[in-house]
């Protein structure tokens, strides 16, 4: 196991040399690259990275340019997890056979996928990788829609959100189903480490990523990615919206160790009403119509009960 990079504080962290570069095609204000930067900068080890078809992939690898200063692969929509798993298997094979080109290096294998790729179309692939126990990290860039294709609903889209395939209209308030609980699902695989992170809480994220990199076996990271284009807020507000998400507990930050030990890693000093989080985004605008306001109350109740559940899980120490 390689030495863990020392990141005492943000000043120290700022000496990092990014391995994803600019002049990519991501929207101004996109949280994806903030997340990717925090992940890649958490280690000084070599990297083998994969990405599913989606915003990150499409915007960082359009011929004749690549925005990756590391080995990188995109195969398709479902299989960034399996791509990196295959690369990791090759690494293990060549290591055993003594044919590694740079045997002294200890690369990290990281797969990125959007929520569509992770919660929906690539779910089986991800599950298989975790069942097999590859030594890899999977980072979901969760912007709660199929953003790259224009904002269609995914398994991660929360209730009441307006998307192009479940739009708010005269007789509908948008998506009727709840968001899938990927954290619990991946923890149930017995993964050694599973964590939910948000880019505005950089210290929490980097600590978890480093834990993930030091963990042997498959690690699942669910990263909240506030999408200026699809959530409909001004590009400069990405961090502010992320703060609303974490501080209203809509997106709680916690980790699950060995599928059993739950730790809440961020407790907001002041918990803000869910209403403030919803009100800041155009995709929930219709919830503020008189006939839909009951949904805001339901949201608050649900977030409260989820937070309650989280705290009980943390206490129970099963």
């Amino acid at each position: 196991m390689s030495e863990i990079k020392k990141i005492k504080n943000l000043k120290e962290f700022s000496t990092s040399a990014d391995r994803v570069v600019g002049a990519n095609l991501l929207c101004p204000g996109c949280a994806h690259s903030i997340i990717v930067r925090e992940v890649l900068n958490a280690t000084n080890d070599d990297l083998v990275i994969s990405a599913s078809t989606g915003c990150l992939e499409v915007c960082t690898a359009v011929y004749p340019y690549t925005s990756w200063d590391a080995s990188w692969i995109h195969i398709g929509f479902e299989n960034s997890s399996t791509a990196v798993a295959g690369a990791e298997a090759m690494y293990q094979a060549l290591k055993r056979k003594g044919r590694l080109l740079q045997p002294e290096r200890t690369p990290k294998f990281v797969a990125f996928g959007g929520d569509g790729a992770t919660y929906d179309i690539g779910f089986q692939w991800l599950s298989g990788c975790f069942e097999r126990g590859h030594d890899m990290m999977y980072v979901t860039l969760d912007n709660e829609v199929y953003a790259n294709t224009g904002g269609q609903a995914s398994g991660a889209t929360p209730l009441g959100s307006s998307t192009t395939t479940a739009p708010a209209g005269r007789v509908s308030y948008g998506k009727k189903r709840h968001k899938k609980d990927m954290m619990a699902i991946m923890a149930a695989h017995g993964a050694p480490y599973v964590a939910q992170v948000a880019p505005n809480k950089w210290k929490d994220m980097v600590k978890k990523i480093q834990t993930g990199f030091q963990t042997e076996g498959p690690v699942f990271i669910n990263a909240m990615s506030a999408c200026t284009t699809e959530w409909k807020f001004a590009p400069e507000d990405t961090i502010a919206i992320s703060d609303l998400a974490t501080d209203s507990l809509v997106f709680p930050l916690y980790e699950i160790i060995d599928g059993k030990e739950w730790n809440i890693t961020y407790r907001p000093k002041n918990i803000i009403p869910v209403r403030d989080y919803l009100g800041a985004q155009g995709r929930f605008k219709h919830l503020f119509k008189k006939e839909n306001e009951y949904l805001i109350e339901e949201w608050q109740k649900r977030i409260d009960s989820s937070w309650e559940y989280l705290q009980r899980r943390e206490e129970s120490r099963v």
Binding site: D46, V48, S50, E57, V58, A61, V62, Y63, P64, Y65, T66, W68, D69, A70, S71, W72, I73, H74, I75, G76, E78, N79, T82, A83, V84, A85, G86, A87, A89, M90, Y91, Q92, A93, L94, R96, K97, R99, L100, L101, Q102, R105, P107, Q124, W125, S127, G128, E131, R132
Partner: protein
């Protein structure tokens, strides 16, 4: 270090064991695989070899065939020798990734144990899966027996891994008829087999951290055409020379000769059957019989389906008066693939044979010696009359009223 196996000079192997042994001898670095009838024994035998210490590569038992090919692509891009096996539904499931693998120019060997595609569900041998993958950009080789499955599977690695080629290779064999039928297979010893392939030479490997590579970038209307044209060009110009070279080296090594187009009694043939898979051998038996009767019969066995040996076929068919194309896959609304390919070869020739089409053997239905005699009979009628004397397309070996079209 993997243990070596002491093989007899001739082993009794079915096509699946022959393929598994070739996999073992190639000392593959990563096999990502999923079981499906009738290719399952390839995966099982390989697992057995691993458990007994004959394999020291990684064996990733994935959760679907799409994942199998995805894992293979990731591993191949990382930089090493990669292979897997599948059939039918599994092949269909991984079709998306087949195109991605060839587009990324990754040498991967895929053993396809040909089986019918559902619906209706059928586990037996026909070529519908082979036909599904035709345009995927892979080098595609066909074998007619377990011996050939062994030989061609070994050669597949050597062909695809050449740095001037860098294309994935499919090796086809008939499900059950070849895969589950044993014959005496002449073997090569482990060291000789491995040395014939040589150690895998990495090229643009992702695990070469001194030269990080980005795989799978997107190309839009300003670039896509050039990239696909390049792939097509390399298939058209780089592959046959390499296959010729590998076949020649193999002949030197073993005495067994393979050819890009397997011509049997074609030199002065007047009537010929174009066919693939195990039926090639059945057809040769009838052909030999007819030759003894003084009938100028011939057989064209398609060894390399892609790239398509157009010039060789044109040369072989020139002077032939009547040609039957046998397709072991339902074309579902038109003439068979081999009919179209042969017609395409001959369309601009000054002298063209009469070409017709037979659909046979779907879902494992036997093509018998009697059937083949009947086909040659049709051909002789056509050759004599100088025109097509039967419907263009006939179904052979089917119960019910005679089914024919055009």
């Amino acid at each position: 270090m993997a243990d070596k196996m002491d093989l007899l000079d001739v082993e009794v192997w079915d096509g699946n064991m022959a393929a598994s042994q070739a996999f073992r001898q190639a000392q593959i670095d990563v096999v990502a695989a999923y079981p499906i009838t009738p290719s399952t024994p390839v995966v099982e035998n390989y697992a057995g070899f691993l458990a007994d210490g004959y394999v020291d590569g990684e064996y990733v038992m994935v959760e679907s065939e799409h994942a199998a090919m995805s894992g293979c692509v990731g591993a191949a891009a990382a930089g090493g020798r990669v292979a897997t096996a599948t059939s039918s539904q599994g092949f269909a499931l991984m079709v998306e990734v087949l195109y991605q693998a060839s587009g990324m120019r990754l040498p991967i060997v895929l053993e396809v144990v040909n089986r019918a595609l559902a619906a209706p569900l059928n586990v037996n041998g026909d070529h519908s899966d082979m036909y599904l993958g035709r345009d995927s950009g892979w080098i595609q080789l066909d074998t007619f027996s377990p011996q050939e499955a062994y030989d061609l599977t070994l050669m597949a690695f050597k062909i695809g891994e050449d740095h001037n080629v860098r294309l994935p290779v499919m090796v086809h064999q008939d499900g059950f008829i070849s895969s589950h039928t044993a014959q005496g297979v002449k073997t090569i010893d482990d060291d000789t087999a491995y040395n014939f392939l040589g150690e895998f030479q990495p090229f643009n490997a992702m695990l070469d951290f001194e030269k990080p590579a980005s795989y799978g970038v997107q190309t839009e209307e300003d670039w896509h055409f050039e990239h696909k044209a390049r792939q097509h060009n390399d298939l058209m110009t780089k592959v046959f020379p390499k296959i010729d070279e590998v076949f020649a080296d193999f002949k030197k090594l073993t005495g067994r000769e393979y050819r890009i187009l397997e011509e049997y009694a074609m030199d002065d043939a007047e009537v010929a059957i174009v066919v693939m898979g195990t039926s090639v051998e059945s057809t040769r038996i009838v052909c030999a019989e007819l030759r003894e009767q003084g009938i100028k019969a011939g057989v064209l066995g398609i060894r390399v389906l892609r790239p398509f040996p157009m010039e060789k076929i044109a040369a072989a068919l020139s002077g032939v008066k009547a040609v039957a194309t046998l397709d072991r896959s339902s074309p579902n609304g038109t003439v068979g693939m081999l009919f179209n390919e042969m017609s395409g070869v001959m369309i601009n020739a000054t002298e063209r044979p009469i070409i017709n089409n037979y659909i046979y053997g779907l879902g494992g239905r036997d093509l018998t010696i009697e059937h083949i005699r009947g086909i040659y009979g049709d051909l002789q009628e056509n050759a004599k009359a100088g025109s097509l004397q039967q419907p263009l397309q006939q179904f052979i070996g089917l119960r019910g009223p005679k089914l024919s079209f055009y």
